[in-house]
Symmetry: C2
Subunit: 190 residues, 2 copies
């Protein structure tokens, strides 16, 4: 297989990723993606034989993007405290998108759960990667058995903030909640 096909494959994944986020998975058609990439449906089908296949590719990409980001933070920031703060800052850094489309992880998991989709478990990997990473960070900060539970709590808080920010289209709320969440974090790890 030539590398030209591989490059196009990547472009398709990027376009699909964005559309799935903005419009949802079911609400995005092959034609929508093909149009965005600027190719024909036939060509699209050459690269991805089913819709599940491209969803799978999008999820895989997202998971490894997350893993890479967390890895990066591990190298850049020696203090787990700092790393977790960067996790929370994801909310602030993406507030415009969150306001318009919610959390890309949470909204996808929610949609797939509703259709009992076969790839629901794969989508959950986006969450478990974050959960496990947060657990490690919290343990490094001296938390014991409760680290995992606290990590889950952090996930839930983030999801809640994204949901309400999206529903009310209110970035101010997001900012308030981020501040509150950071205060709470400081109290947990002194």
């Amino acid at each position: 297989m030539g590398h030209k096909g591989e490059a196009l494959r990547q472009r398709i994944i990027v376009a699909a990723d964005l559309l799935f986020y903005q419009r949802g998975y079911e609400n995005t058609s092959f034609s929508d993606i093909a149009k965005d990439v600027g190719i024909s449906r036939g060509n699209f089908y050459y690269h991805f034989k089913t819709k599940d296949e491209i969803l799978n590719a999008v999820i895989d990409t997202r998971v490894s993007d997350i893993e890479q980001m967390l890895n990066e933070w591990g190298k850049q920031y020696p203090d787990p405290r700092q790393r977790i703060q960067h996790y929370i800052d994801i909310l602030t850094n993406n507030q415009e998108n969150i306001k318009s489309h919610g959390c890309p992880i949470g909204s996808l998991c929610s949609e797939l759960a509703k259709q009992n989709h076969a790839l629901q478990q794969d989508a959950n990997k986006m969450l478990t990667v974050l959960r496990d990473w947060l657990t490690v960070q919290l343990k490094e900060l001296g938390l014991g058995k409760e680290a995992r539970q606290t990590a889950m709590h952090l996930l839930a808080r983030s999801q809640g903030i994204a949901s309400i920010t999206n529903a009310f289209e209110d970035k101010t709320f997001l900012q308030q909640e981020v501040k509150r969440l950071k205060q709470w974090l400081d109290e947990q790890i002194q």
Copy 2:
């Protein structure tokens, strides 16, 4: 208009409500609802001319159900503290459904937001009714200007708990978080 039609109309709304919750709005067809009610599509169309129309009816029903519930609590429980605890208990009381289908309010708002649906604002009413009611309760408990912000925080926490419970299909997590949320509430209003 006879009252027979009105009764069927109600049955349609109930069936649609449930299906929208379990499968999502877009993922539910006229035929699905008609089949559940046990009527033909033609009859269905006699009662609701468009899909938006039935969504509208479902939202209206949900909103007034919520209002009625809150009203009831107002009469039954003299202490706002108690009332808010009942709000939190909604999570526990519906944990099985939340595990399988998420929060009926949050997941609908999220879906409609993704499609830029005309009724998104109407769906938000389910949230604003709760927010405003929580604000009143918190003010009665002595909170001032921060009452509204705290109410929003409560909404977000609930949404987050529902999202993660649904994604991980983990009722234990829901129970842990409810406990935590009640502890937090106690700290806010002493």
